[in-house]
Amino acid sequence: MSGPNTDYDPVEVTPLKAEEVEAARDAALTAIAAANSLEELKQTRLDHAGDRSPLALANREIGALPPAARKEAGQRVGKARGAVNQALAARQKVLEAEHEARMLVEETVDVTLPTDRVPAGGRHPLTTGAEYIADIFVAMGWEVAEGPLIEAEWLNFDALNLGPDHPARTMQDTFWTEPAENHVVLRTHTSPVQARTMLTREAPIYVVCPGRVFRTDEYDATHSPMFHQVEGLAIDEGISMANLKGTLDHFATQMFGEGIVTRFRPSYFPFTEPSAEVDLTCFVCRGAQVVDAGDGQLVTCRTCKGEGWIEWGGCGIVNPRVLIACGVDPERYSGFAFGMGIDRTLMFRTGLSDLRTLFEGDVRLTTAFGSEL
């Protein structure tokens, strides 16, 4: 290396000659453009912009020039180095982008591979079905009432106008607990919850009671010794059958869709008077009695057997005798009550054909419904 105090003629310092600087710059730019990978570019950077590159060496010679020559040479070399660095950065950017794109292509997976490492859970449709029904009523300002499954005979029967010798008691085949003198039964309907509600709350009362009930029925595709009911009870001033009809029509529409309504037929239940059977517009043929067989031909609807209606449940005006036994003033208040099978309602809504499917615990039933109905 030359000492700074030695006199030089700038034109004698070869690396700083204009043509040398330009050649070095051009060589660098060509090499940069030719670099096809980040590795090649790295080498190019070393070769053309590194400490031993021609331009770096030329730069070092500037200090040896006489002061008058330094400025010009400095500008010349600086400009060339700037151009090279700029080209390097630009090329680096391009190559990095290319590299990234290539990496993403290389990392491609088969997204159709199975992903079910953790099996899905689910809630039983009877649970979610009861919640669905409850929510319809909660949205109308009703509350959800509950009671025990093993119940006092008085609450399950007597308080509901089903005295010990009432013929209707034999209509409900009851599981009795031992000893019989204890007068405790497995509740045969959710109606004792209505009695409990009237006994413990002040009118007005608007409650819906979904729950499990038991009867000594055979176990087959349409009967089960354990099943589920939902009952509703409204006690208020001026309650009428029209209110009952309005409520059930609303329920039917919410449960089965627009256009599904109810029809009442006279019936008999000890706890209501007047009493009615509730039919529901057949949700398959929607009351048309016939369905398209698939080939444009109309055939009798099998779900309703061509009636256009299907039986849904029972209802009526709460018998004043029940109000009296439960401490509600029948002179001031009237009420309505209704009840239907949740299992049956669910079967209608989901097309299940065998009741037993609901109680045998096969996970395939539950997981088919997820965790909401």
Partner: protein, 831 residues
């Protein structure tokens, strides 16, 4: 209740053009629900004609049978007028008899095509029909022989046979006892179409006198009216007339003998049960009383019955001869030798009828009517009608003696007619419809009530055949059904101001979603349990769970109890899923279980609300029924796949279910080791909150897995969900956390193998002080490097200050304090 339309029409002038469906639609709307319409002779097609047998040659066959080769006059029905040759296997006819013939080309029920065919060496051109072949009854003792006055040969036989007649089957509700008769159904049809009704009970009957058979009622509360009439010289062999036979068959009653058939016929006609005795078999006067302790009676069905002192019996000098109103006795039954018939029509107390029927498990047409209530004015009328028919068709003579005893016999002593007073506006108000007062009055008059209006109220005097009408709302229903339930408008109630779901209801939903989110599948199962289930769980003999609420009438004698634990059912369900091919099952069930309280629940009256004390006593007698959650994890917990192999469920997964619920609900659940069947004694945790235990979780005992057919290492949980829910804070407290940098320190501690992780962790927490944010075990090592009987626990500690970056010195000091405390409390030595 089956009713031939032609029989109903005898008592009501229905318009001719009214179709059966219009009639049944209207009656259904009135509360007599249509079950089915049967048309007799359905399935018969083609030439079915009257034939007259001209000759019948008996020809014995090789197979031992004898056939009749008949020549039958079928008039011009065969197109030739020549007699028809027909082979017939029956023998209940002779030449000259008129029979029913189906000619070739005809079809019998079951799509049985008739053609001329070669049989028994003859060309048989048609068939002489039996009732069964025509689908008219089960009887097939032979072919149908028509009466001699049947129409000429060749006439279409359909009309003669009454084919094409519609029999309507109704479902009659228990309150509408009146509709268990043609009289009652016809009355509703009349009011439904507003046409005249001709009451078959409208007849003049002879007055009671002292010459009748002596009858004494000793228990007027059980029987308030007893009518007895006698027919003598009755021909016991006289056949039942065809119309009675046919109608009984149509209503579903077997024809037995003329005497019995007539009593049944009149019961269906008028609705009142009737009993006939062979008077020659009676000894002394008839007495009606309650049975004595130990008395026995052989009823008509040849069953010896031990009588109860509550049973009402009809007696003579020999003792009980009938279970009053329910079933007659065998000793005085009318038979093929009976010539003197005593007819009994009595009005019985419905409640006694019901209790006796239930006690002796007897259901009969008579009992059904008597227990639901019959018209108390009918006895003399029904008796007279029976006498009339016995005389007409049995050739007897009605004795002039007419016995009528009991308070019901006289208007002075008879129970007064029921009157019901209501505000005239009540029906409109309760139905929710505009109704004029006159409409209300007209409706009530249509059912036969006498109505008096006074101011705003009306008083209806209820007809005797409507024993179901007692309360004001009963009248509302009558008005509603006549106006039509289809007229009820649809109006939502005005106000309901509920507070939404209760906290517990919301939490139960949240628990269900949490469990489902953790991959658990909910199932629903029956709650019945037996000793074998508890044995399979390995419960000790004196385990409290074995003390169940027992059912008096269980579905299966193997499962007589209401369960105290959800596990037996859930383990069976899990095994079922495994046997159906599931490699792993993760199930949960929430349901109440029951623990007996062994107290009697009182039965109160219903004329008032029970007092608070009474209610408390009632509720205290009901078994305690907490809501439980059970979980079973069997086999694969996660699936194997390209990511690696499957993980098998373990005790840890079971405990984690409870911990996860605790986290979700904001409840600090403590876990401690325990030993409890059905769990593995070394892999069972008891879970508690605030020191109160509420369930167990862990791996099932290997024997339990075997007993239930579950994969080894299956795990289970059962907890009291009501308790857990009660521990959920009303509102979750908002967390306070620092955003300062975290300082991490790991420590490895060697402790004796029997020291629990929970104990070490608690000591670390305590020693570390408030700067410690979390502590988490990340490794456990047992082996040579830590020495026999020891284990190494590696914990990750995270420290953070609320207000500053911790210095290395502060962090180290906290760590050292934590380790020092662990050393002090658990003997831990830092590795």
């Amino acid at each position: 209740m089956k009713a031939p339309l032609s029989w109903i029409k005898e008592y009501v002038s229905l318009p001719e053009d009214l179709g059966v469906e219009e009639i049944t639609d209207r009656l259904t709307a009135l509360g007599l629900k249509l079950e089915a319409i049967e048309t007799s002779g359905a399935g018969i097609d083609g030439p079915l004609v009257v034939g007259q047998v001209l000759t019948a040659e008996k020809e014995p066959q090789k197979n031992g049978k004898t056939i009749n080769w008949c020549s039958v006059d079928v008039g011009d029905a065969n197109g030739t007028g020549e007699p028809q040759g027909i082979v017939c296997g029956a023998h209940n006819f002779v030449p000259g008899d008129k029979v029913v013939v189906i000619l070739p080309g005809g079809v019998l029920p079951g799509n049985f095509q008739i053609s001329a065919r070669k049989t028994y060496g003859h060309m048989s051109a048609g068939m002489i029909c039996s009732a069964r072949e025509l689908g008219l009854g089960e009887e097939a003792d032979g072919i149908i022989v028509l009466p001699p006055d049947a129409p000429a040969p060749g006439t279409d036989a359909r009309e003669v046979l009454g084919l094409g007649e519609e029999v309507i089957e109704f479902e009659i509700n228990p309150d509408r006892a009146y509709a268990l008769s043609m009289r009652g159904i016809a009355r509703d049809a009349a009011l439904g179409f507003d046409v005249p009704f001709h009451d078959p009970a409208q007849r003049d009957v002879p007055l009671a006198n002292a010459d009748g058979y002596p009858v004494r009622i000793e228990d007027e509360s059980g029987c308030d009216y007893f009518v007895a009439r006698t027919v003598t010289g009755f021909d016991p062999t006289a056949p039942t007339p065809e119309f009675i036979k046919k109608r009984l068959e149509q209503v579903g009653v077997r024809s037995i003998s003329l005497g019995v058939d007539i009593t049944n016929y009149v019961m269906f006609e008028l609705g009142h049960p009737i009993h006939a005795y062979d008077r020659a078999k009676l000894t002394g006067p008839i007495v009606v009383r309650r049975a004595h302790e130990g008395e026995k009676l052989t009823t008509l069905d040849d069953t010896v019955r031990e009588l109860d002192p509550e049973d009402l019996v009809v007696c003579d000098d020999t003792g009980p001869i009938g279970l009053g109103g329910v079933m007659g006795g065998a000793s005085t039954e009318i038979s093929e030798t009976t010539t003197d018939v005593l007819v009994e029509v009595a009005h019985w107390d419905p409640r006694s009828m019901f209790r006796t029927g239930r006690r002796h498990k007897l259901t009969s047409e008579a009992g059904k009517r008597n227990e639901r209530g019959v018209d108390p004015l009918l006895p003399p009328i029904a008796a007279d009608r029976v006498v009339e028919l016995l005389v007409e068709y049995g050739g007897g003579v009605a004795e002039p003696g007419v016995t009528e005893v009991g308070p019901g016999a006289s208007p002075e002593t008879r129970k007064p007619l029921t009157t019901i007073t209501i505000p005239t506006s009540l029906p409109a108000r309760i139905i929710g419809i505009d109704l004029g007062d006159d409409t209300v009055v007209k409706c009530l008059e249509l059912i036969g009530a006498q109505v008096e209006v006074e101011g705003d109220t009306l008083t209806a005097t209820v007809p005797t055949y409507r024993t179901d009408l007692n309360d004001p709302y009963d009248l509302v229903e009558e008005v509603a059904r006549i106006v039509g339930y289809d007229q009820v408008p649809s109006v939502l109630p005005r106000r309901a101001t509920g507070r939404g779901l209760t906290r517990a209801q919301q939490l139960r939903r949240r628990i269900g979603r949490t469990l489902a989110g953790a991959g658990l599948v909910e199932v629903v199962d029956f709650p019945f349990v037996g000793e074998a289930d508890f044995d399979r769980l390995g419960l000790p003999a004196d385990d409290v769970l074995r003390h169940t609420v027992k059912l008096a009438n269980p579905l299966s004698s193997e499962e007589p109890g209401y369960t105290t634990t959800l596990l037996p059912g859930l383990l069976k369900v899990a095994a079922r899923n495994v046997s159906r091919g599931q490699d792993g099952v993760a199930l949960f069930e929430t349901a109440t279980v029951a623990f007996p309280v062994d107290q009697a629940a009182p039965i109160y009256g219903v004329d008032r609300r029970p007092t608070e004390e009474e209610l408390e006593k009632l509720l205290a007698a009901i078994p305690r029924q907490p809501l439980h959650l059970a979980v079973v994890l069997a086999g694969e917990r996660t699936r194997g796949g390209w990511w690696g192999s499957a993980e098998t469920a373990s005790w840890a997964d079971a405990i984690d279910v409870v911990r996860r619920l605790g986290t979700e609900l904001g409840v600090a659940v403590e876990v401690a080791s325990a030993s409890r069947a059905p769990w593995h004694p070394g892999r069972c945790a008891v879970v508690s909150v605030d020191g109160v235990e509420f369930g167990h979780a862990g791996e099932l005992h290997p024997n339990v897995c075997k007993a239930f057919g579950l994969p080894a290492r299956s795990a289970a949980v059962e907890i009291d969900l009501d308790f857990l829910i009660s521990k959920v804070p009303a509102t979750a407290a908002g967390p306070v956390f620092s955003t300062m940098p975290v300082a991490k320190e790991d420590v490895a501690l060697i402790v004796s193998s029997d020291v629990t992780v929970a104990a070490v962790e608690a000591a670390l927490r305590e020693g570390a002080g408030p700067l410690l944010e979390t502590v988490r075990l990340f490794d456990v090592y047992e082996g040579d490097q830590v020495g026999e009987g020891n284990k190494s626990l590696a914990f990750a500690l995270r420290f953070r200050a609320p207000d500053r970056t911790l210095t290395a010195e502060e962090t180290a000091a906290a760590r050292d304090a934590a380790v020092a405390r662990a050393a002090e409390l658990t003997g831990a030595v830092q590795r």
